[in-house]
Subunit: 373 residues, 4 copies
């Protein structure tokens, strides 16, 4: 169904099952002449890749990307870019046990009810392997956003279970600080504690959830389409479509509901001839349109549903059974979710930027008031 396609102008279509021969994406609408570098895409895929550390699933996949179309002499042609990654370490036999058993809180039951059949093994399309295509497309979108507008996107793990990294400043956090941490939390002490928490969960055959935070700095004012395709609405759509996501906040989010309007409003002021706000509870978005301040969002991920502990469940034949799942799974998806959240942010921003150009023409990053020009 059309559900495998996202975006209007910058448009991606992902395909592939977790334990099939390959996974891929077709990326359409890329402006011609954009440098498309396999190493750069691979770098992002490596950040998403399983087996990076003991914190992630031990499935062995190099996730080497092949570029099959749309690029010539290192630049985009303007035609669809087709990318493919082979599945190398598929182990369908691990799933024999689970063919008929519905893993609790997983997609087994719902796929089975929806399609009256499902991929023979593994999560099929519901597996996090599907996000390979998103991350690859996001690498291209990030490159375009950086070159055209200087947009910089950084995500990080803001919380694991109840352990929060309180002091991350969205205005300054950089990707190096994030990447220096195996758990992708830029505060070293918190990072260390998170690692210990996840290690403990792994040993317990259990899993943990948490929160990824993301900022996009440098977006010009004007991106986002009222009424339904608001920037915040599309970000919410994009984030909630990531496996295991259960919540999205833009700017002040749920905590903003505890403030009065007079406390919550972001006051405008002039700085160097440009319009800014003193606070950023709006998360860089007002009326669904970017206002030039950093776009900020938070995404809640539930604890991984596949755990190796025994759990009561049922089979597709209606039998009540106890399952101790096999297979190789992340005790905590948060570290690997970071590049996925960045990718989805970039995909949304690029698509809305192109839509904005279509209707409103080229846009500079200037925040000078329109009437003053």
């Amino acid at each position: 169904m059309p559900g495998n396609t996202f975006g209007r102008i910058f448009r991606i279509t992902t395909w592939g099952e977790s334990h099939g021969p390959a996974i891929g994406v077709v990326i359409d609408g890329v402006p011609p002449g954009l440098p498309v570098c396999p190493e750069q895409i691979q770098r992002e895929l490596d950040r998403r890749r399983p087996g990076q550390s003991r914190l992630t699933t031990q499935r062995k996949e190099s996730d080497s990307v092949q570029i099959l179309s749309g690029v010539s002499e290192g630049q985009s042609l303007g035609t669809p870019i087709s990318l493919l990654v082979e599945n190398q370490d598929a182990r369908p036999q691990d799933y024999d046990l689970m063919k008929k058993v519905y893993r609790p809180s997983h997609a087994d039951m719902t796929y089975d009810f929806k399609y009256r059949r499902r991929s023979l093994s593994g999560g099929g399309r519901a597996s996090a392997r599907e996000t390979i295509g998103r991350v690859a497309a996001g690498a291209i979108a990030q490159e375009w956003l950086r070159r055209e507008f200087g947009v910089e996107i950084v995500a990080w793990v803001g919380k694991v279970h109840t352990l929060a990294a309180e002091n991350v400043d969205p205005n300054t956090v950089d990707r190096n600080a994030v990447e220096n941490s195996p758990v992708r939390c830029p505060i070293p002490e918190v990072s260390q504690q998170m690692i210990e928490l996840i290690d403990q969960a792994r040993k317990n055959r259990d899993s943990l959830g948490g929160v990824v935070e993301v900022v996009a700095r440098g977006c010009p004012a004007g991106w986002g389409e009222p009424v339904f395709d608001k920037l915040d609405a599309l970000l919410a759509h994009a984030f909630m479509s990531i496996p295991a996501a259960k919540g999205v906040e833009i700017g002040s989010g749920f905590s903003g509901t505890a403030m009065a309007g007079s406390e919550h409003n972001d006051h405008f002021f002039m700085k160097d001839g440009e319009v800014r706000t003193r606070t950023n509870r709006s998360g860089g978005i007002q009326g669904g349109i970017s206002n030039g301040m950093p776009v900020f969002a938070r995404v809640a991920f539930k604890p991984t549903s596949t755990i190796n502990k025994e759990q009561p469940t049922v089979t597709s034949e209606g039998e009540e059974v106890v399952l101790a799942a096999k297979g190789r799974h992340d005790p905590c998806v948060l570290p690997r979710a970071v590049p996925i959240v960045e990718a989805m942010t970039a995909i949304v921003l690029m698509d809305l930027a192109l839509q904005d150009i279509a209707q409103n023409g080229p846009r500079t990053g200037s925040l000078k008031p329109p009437q003053s020009e």
Copy 2:
């Protein structure tokens, strides 16, 4: 831009400015033969209407709906249903002051930057009056969902500022209990306290935010399209596109991140030959597809940005000024947001139900395991 259209098969397009001659919606994809009753649409619009009580804006609008097409002898024809509501109490003069002044945290600045012009007065498309079309379309979607599947959608105010209604049971809450409360909170004592809170904010020329909760009971298993058009992703998109929304949670949401996987997972069991889960932290959605349990979500609304208190801001000419906004505004949008959240829920569910029928054929509500049949 395409941003004024939502849905693939059941598809709505809204139009109209807050202080223009009229507001409307074109609703496409309605199956033929559905009873479409003006009174029913009007009833929903009346729940959204301004001036219902002192808790809402005092703008006087009857919001009387006219059905201009797509209905004959009380039934849908299968062709587009065009609905129109005239703006009666537009007061553009109230906005003279604000023509050049950007209200903090409102859409004034971003529209001005995006389009280099904006509706002469009021919020234009960013006004909550735009949601008239959504509520009207939602009335039709709710009727279809009720008739075809017995789906029942109930939303309520779960929180105002820091005051929460803790004891609402999504499995049983009914719309009467909600409608009996002027603030649309089904717990009478909490409702009374919320009213007092809002009254106080109004007197302070301030505003309050809060949380709307919504449940859809009776959805069959199988609705929602992996990968990008998951049911939860489309709900997030739909809710976050409502003016003032800043956060969305599905099922356990952010609070679910504080649980281990072994605590969070919803265990399957058999009841009367059907598959159920003992808990519903999934919010009725697994892998982006409904699982037959109640679909449950929460939406955070920020405090109304337009307040009559003095606030520092800037003009479209780059001048720093102090603004005490005029105009008639809700001290708290939550009570009127309830029918909007219900409408968006219905619109998403109906569209995904039709998409599911297209690919997978008719679906009964049965939760019997597929292999057992």
Copy 3:
């Protein structure tokens, strides 16, 4: 269904039944700041209007357009433009006879089978009145194309029955010459003969078909999206969606099949430093993309299916009957089809122009070879 919407960025949604209260269109994606003048839209609607002359249906409709949104102080806001025309001379009683009788070659039977019901009277959505919205939207698109690129669109009646206007030069034909003819054929002698043919058909209670030809001059090279959304493919889609259309040709069309490649190919040459072709059998489109030469197409319209002669047919109850249709109908739709074909041409061009801008940036009309710059 989505079938009532056309276009991706410049996107129109039409609604309304022939004998309902009103007919309308929502036009989305119009760049802000475009002058939108009611008189100009009305002028195009008047060219489409019934009752212009004895050559057209005698239904009396002023087709006065109301602009309900999206325009402020004579300029587009960038938000959806909603236009409405009231039906004034609806005569449902004329159709009582035909409620159950399927008019041959009309849409009665197919709507009835598709929806198991249909508009109580008249053609409903299948009526040519539906094209009001197209013509109104086309007026806006033509204004934009003229201002931004100097594009000029002219259509004319090239053939009625077997009588062809052979000598119309697409490079020079202008709208005045077309409008000076009641039948909209720019060659006065042929125009006169066409009028006589149509008059004769009217007296015979019969109807005639013919061919409308259209040229768009001034399109820059580069409009049209390979692979499926080629400029010629979208024109074919747009034209074939006009009621009574049965054929579409681009450039040499069917007659080009009688030439060898060496005869048919359009040779490039340089003129004033720009790339041109000596002939234009391509109709201004190569590989689905405009090449800077005039875009030229032809549309075949069948003879009006509703005639007042007796014809054998069946009823919705399966009874074989003889029908002499009532109602007021055009003996020949060609003259009124001219502004509709122009409108659809403009709508396609504007949408593809905006898509091109989105991906490839602003485009001047220059045909200078890219490497020479």
Copy 4:
């Protein structure tokens, strides 16, 4: 750009350049449980393949299809089906000469102007190799249409240059008769003459055009979406998007314009309790919706633009030159266009069938009048 995707529910996205590593398609929206057999897809690809006979290009490509996703144990999963064909006999060096030279009436110039760059060699996306994905998707659509509704699609070469096969009966022509002819004309004598014509053109280093005709038998009444997505409009879109197409006719097409309404109308009558028409000038489509009679269309293809004769042209640097194109090209695309036209017919029908099911529920093939039931 979105131009590489076609369809709403049954939706295909093609990718790949003619001389890149591979060509492919992602097919979305396939109902689960459909048998998907590689041999069947391969059979259709073999009909499209180059090098079938001396009538086609001598490029050597086995066009072996790989199924990468969406199929398990021979049946569709309901998830996207990704198909890939490697390019084996790419000869970029053949195109060195033409890197800067615009082949007359080819897409070289327009791609260069649109994107300011193009695939280094060959036709890139404008090559007929792009249609591999269409034919593969069409094989799946044909299987579904055959199983679900008994729809049978047959196309044939109706004309080469001025030589027409007059006596083909759309009601009975079968694919065997077509496949028995190397030129895919089911009338043996005409077939032989066509072969001689094409041979002669090949020897002359020239090329020929012609007409492909197609019929779809067994479509139920009710497919096609008014207003813009009429069945005939989508067929016109689909056919005109095939490389080299210049014209489309539905039913009587252009020749129907030479008839009066009283001659042209298809009279309804009852046969075995079902509604039929005595003639089929409507081509099985009325008001944009199928009426249960055979859907019939004709597609004009221009003579291949790439010929090996000398022709005047220009370079991308604005130099006037003479070109005798190299490369391996079809002297006449008609025989290979036959499976492409069938594929596009099937893709349109399946998509509209699914859309119809979404809104109107399951449909049997019965043509019994609705009120009689």
